[in-house]
């Protein structure tokens, strides 16, 4: 535990049920009291504790032993609200069925990295969460030792009960919680031996599962306060445009409309990575009594927008990216002498791959509650970066940081879009302007057209083979909007004597940013397609070819900054090879393979296609994963499956083009998302068991599936596909 945690002001307190929503008020701010958790309600109905003692920022124990665990990080569907408390519960050694999980408030003095991004919550939380549980358990034991007058060493715990065998005494933690809460929080407490884990590694159902399936109001979209108004925005139809005029008086006179005004986006914060993508110049804000009335007013807006900068077109992006690849250079890594290797090669294989811009399309469009006045700001809603957002809000509202509260709700999807809270700042400015609490809601059209898109990318791979059919040279050169896609130290860097990686950037007025597994979400598919074709040209089995390269990286790695472990990489590939029965003859099944490492986890996949009435259909995906210790296998498998389905969907159908800076798609009538009829019939997951510290799963299975899919489609159709979305190219094959 950090010293900050040690000085945390702990309390003994009464909890009382609130009338609305079934949540509890627990003495933090209003923000933490809003979760309504059915799992929690079930426990409370049975054994409702009134007096609680706080052992540290994560743990409160009721007088009857019921335990509340604070889940620190934002929940976007990655299921850390179940997994993180499981880690604490394991070390605290209480019964999971008597644990209440609550979303913690934003307080990075206690909870450190309260951010959902980069698949890092479990990896970076692992140690602190274990220590939080273990130190609280030690405090309970210290209190029991004092209370019973017996040596600490003679005590043991099991499922929330302290045992002293010699005196045949046992009591639940609740009996000692008051005293334990007054003890000093110990540092560096011994942790369990992983072989003794009884919660970690056992599948636990989503703690919000019942709340979700019964429609409880747990999402940001559902959060509302009495007297708050509904706000919507109308942003420029195109990037580069600014507002000239609009029919303000007409809109303001419409039923239920309270105010309508232009909002110049100068208030967007600057000089922060979460603010970098904000590129829309001006907005119209509409505030009214009901969502439908505000929507009607929004539809009635007749606005003139003029181009402040030229509107960009997708076709020009492709030409510009191509121009960069042809004429510019930005070498990020060079091993050996690639120029000579390619000059002297017996055979050079060169291929190019592209993928278009993608919107995030979280199922819940952007939304936030804001109540801002001259003295303070209270905000509540779905945001992946609550800490940075709260700090930036304090800056732009010119309020002291302690006067800005940002509360976290469950999110209707994140995928990177909710890292960049432009709409949060908008909600604050609208509330401040009209001096009333408001709920800002984006329509789907606002969401899809005012996005922070996955950049369009193009990459060129070249491989040099010598006369012995050996891979002696490898080049990767990529270009993308606001940043190239290449990771210069990733595989196959380190496996080829003569290697070069280049990355080029095209500046643009289109906003781009992180989208589930940034850069990997394109480059993995391209790389794994290229390696597949290379293996075929070399006459090798695609898995054996990759394993040979990993062997090379294990025995005689080139360079020192390779950012992967070739043994673990080979491990997942061997596992999926074995489980899928790779190499066996299977009539009517067309198989593709891929392997990729990103976000600290290793993934290998085999994808099987069958022809169904002449159309390719994914029969099964076999997925091997090395994410170290698996905290919650049930949730982990769900993440793995989700990444696979999401990756297949976007590789097959995802595309948003721009004409004069305007996105061509605005809603699901012109943008195709994967649906049930295109999902794999089956997905089976296998974990490598190696006891390594755990790593995340929100992103790593999405990137490689694009390669496995492309490789299987090649087997099914006889044609390689180089450009996403694949569905358009399959159709072209006729």
């Amino acid at each position: 535990m950090s010293s900050k945690t040690k000085s945390y002001n702990r309390r003994k307190f009464l909890k009382v049920s609130t009338a609305a929503g079934g949540g509890l008020c627990i003495g933090f701010s209003f923000l933490s009291s809003c979760s309504s958790d059915s799992h929690f309600k079930e426990i409370v109905r049975l054994e409702k504790p009134e007096i609680w003692s706080e052992l540290n920022g994560f743990i409160q124990i009721g007088e009857n032993g019921i335990t509340t665990i604070m889940s620190p990080n934002p929940e976007i569907g990655q299921n850390i609200k179940t997994a993180m408390p499981m880690i604490i519960t394991e070390e605290l050694d209480v019964d999971w069925d008597k644990v209440i999980v609550q979303q913690a408030p934003l307080n990075t003095a206690i909870y450190k990295r309260q951010l959902a991004g980069g698949s890092q919550s479990i990896r970076q939380g692992w140690n602190d969460l274990r220590q939080a549980g273990a130190s609280a358990r030690k405090m309970i034991l210290d209190a029991a030792s004092i209370e019973w007058g017996v040596p600490f060493e003679e005590l043991r715990t099991e499922k929330g009960i302290v045992y002293h065998e010699k005196s045949e005494r046992s009591e639940h933690y609740g009996k000692f919680a008051d005293m334990a809460g007054q003890l000093e929080i110990p540092d560096n407490v011994n942790l369990k031996d992983p072989k003794d884990f009884s919660i970690i590694g056992k599948g636990k159902a989503n703690v919000d599962g019942i709340a979700i399936v019964t429609g409880e109001p747990i999402f940001g979209m559902d959060y509302m306060e009495e007297g708050a108004k509904i706000a919507m925005i109308e942003h420029a139809p195109g990037f580069g445009q600014t507002l000239t005029s609009f029919n303000k008086d007409e809109i303001k006179s419409m039923p239920g409309i309270i105010d309508v005004f232009e909002l110049n986006t100068d208030f967007y914060p600057k000089d922060s990575w979460i603010a970098n993508p904000f590129k829309l110049n001006s907005l119209i804000a509409i505030v009214g009594e009901s969502t439908w009335q505000v929507m009607q007013a929004k539809k009635a807006i007749k606005a003139e927008w003029s181009y402040q900068t030229e509107g960009e077109n997708t076709e020009e992006h492709w030409l510009a990216l191509d121009n960069l690849l042809q004429n510019e250079s930005n070498v990020q890594r060079k091993d050996g002498d690639p120029v000579t290797a390619f000059k002297e090669a017996a055979q050079v294989i060169a291929r190019e791959y592209t993928a278009p811009f993608l919107p995030h399309n979280t199922m819940a469009p952007m939304n936030f509650f804001a109540d801002v006045n001259q003295e303070r700001a209270r905000l509540m809603g779905p945001i992946q970066t609550p800490e940075i957002t709260a700090n930036l809000l304090a800056d732009i509202l010119e309020l002291p940081k302690e006067k800005v509260e940002v509360g976290m709700t469950r999110m209707g999807g994140g995928f990177g879009r909710r890292l960049y809270g432009n709409w949060v700042f908008e909600s604050a400015m609208i509330s401040k302007k009209i001096n009333s609490p408001i709920k800002l809601i984006y329509t789907r059209e606002d969401d899809m057209t005012g996005g922070v898109y996955r950049p369009a990318y193009k990459v060129r791979y070249r491989a040099a083979l010598n006369e012995l059919n050996e891979l002696v040279g490898f080049e990767v050169k990529g270009a993308g909007i606001h940043g190239g896609p290449v990771f210069s130290n990733r595989f196959p860097a380190g496996t080829v004597d003569n290697y070069q990686a280049e990355n080029l950037t095209l500046e643009s007025t289109i906003a781009t940013g992180a989208w589930r597994a940034p850069r990997s979400n394109f480059i993995a598919g391209a790389e794994q397609s290229f390696l597949d074709e290379l293996a075929e040209i070399m006459g090798k089995d695609p898995i054996e070819f990759r394993l040979e390269l990993f062997e090379r990286a294990i025995d005689r790695p080139i360079g020192e900054s390779n950012d992967y472990d070739p043994k673990r990489y080979a491990g997942v590939l061997k596992l999926v090879k074995e489980k899928s029965g790779w190499g066996e003859k299977m009539d009517g099944i067309f198989r593709g393979v891929s392997a990729y490492y990103c976000h600290n986890s290793y993934v290998a996949q085999v994808l099987d296609i069958i022809m169904d009435d002449g159309n390719p259909r994914i029969k099964k995906v076999w997925c091997a994963v090395d994410c170290g210790i698996v905290i919650n296998p049930l949730g982990a498998k769900n993440q793995i499956e989700g990444g696979i389905v999401d990756g297949i969907g976007h590789a097959m159908f995802g595309k948003i083009n721009f004409t004069n800076g305007k996105p061509d798609s605005k809603n699901f009538n012109s943008y195709q998302m994967i649906r049930s009829t295109d999902a794999p019939l089956e997905i089976e997951t296998f974990f490598v068991e190696n006891g390594e510290n755990p790593t995340g799963l929100g992103e790593p299975t999405l990137p490689p599936i694009m390669g496995a899919l492309a490789n299987a489609l090649y087997k099914a159709t006889g044609k390689r596909i180089y450009d996403q979305p694949f569905s358009e190219n399959i159709q072209e094959l006729g």
Binding site: S290, T362, N669
Partner: protein
């Protein structure tokens, strides 16, 4: 503005709204039934699915003036407990972010009412109006199959 008396989840609810207000916003804004979600507003994502006389409808695209019959929302589906479809969703731990799931469950329960023993293909086709960006489709299919054995 016009007055309406709607039968929702077995109770009669009176509201005073513009006649063109979609049922979705009546449920969410006027009646505080927020389990029914807004996703696209054009009946293409399924997040707003409710039952009208037992049949699945997209509440975002049905004006309140056209509502004729009994409405069931996700809050009323289990009639005080959990409907077998909701139980199956828990059993298969279907949800990730969870936002689309009330709509998925309302579509699934209507599907099973009409066809108690659907084939895999019938499930896929019956559920294709509901989008899930988290990608839970394989679990949804398994959950529907489980629920079909318990209805």
């Amino acid at each position: 503005m016009a007055s309406y008396s709607l039968k929702i989840n077995g109770k009669t609810r009176k509201i005073d709204v513009d006649e063109n207000t979609p049922l979705l916003w009546v449920l969410r804004d006027e009646l505080d039934l927020k389990g029914t979600k807004y996703g696209c507003g054009i009946a293409l994502c399924g997040a707003c699915t409710v039952h009208l006389n037992g049949k699945a409808i997209r509440s975002c695209s049905v004006p309140v003036k056209n509502v004729d019959g009994e409405i069931t929302t996700i809050e009323g589906l289990g009639e005080g407990g959990l409907h077998p479809v909701q139980q199956a969703w828990i059993e298969h731990d279907v949800a990730q972010c969870g936002y689309c799931q009330p709509g998925q469950i309302m579509s699934a329960s209507a599907l099973l009412k009409n066809n108690p023993n659907p084939t895999d293909k019938e499930i896929e086709q019956g559920m294709q109006g509901n989008i899930c960006r988290c990608g839970t489709y394989t679990r949804i299919k398994e959950a529907v199959k489980t629920a079909s054995t318990k209805l």
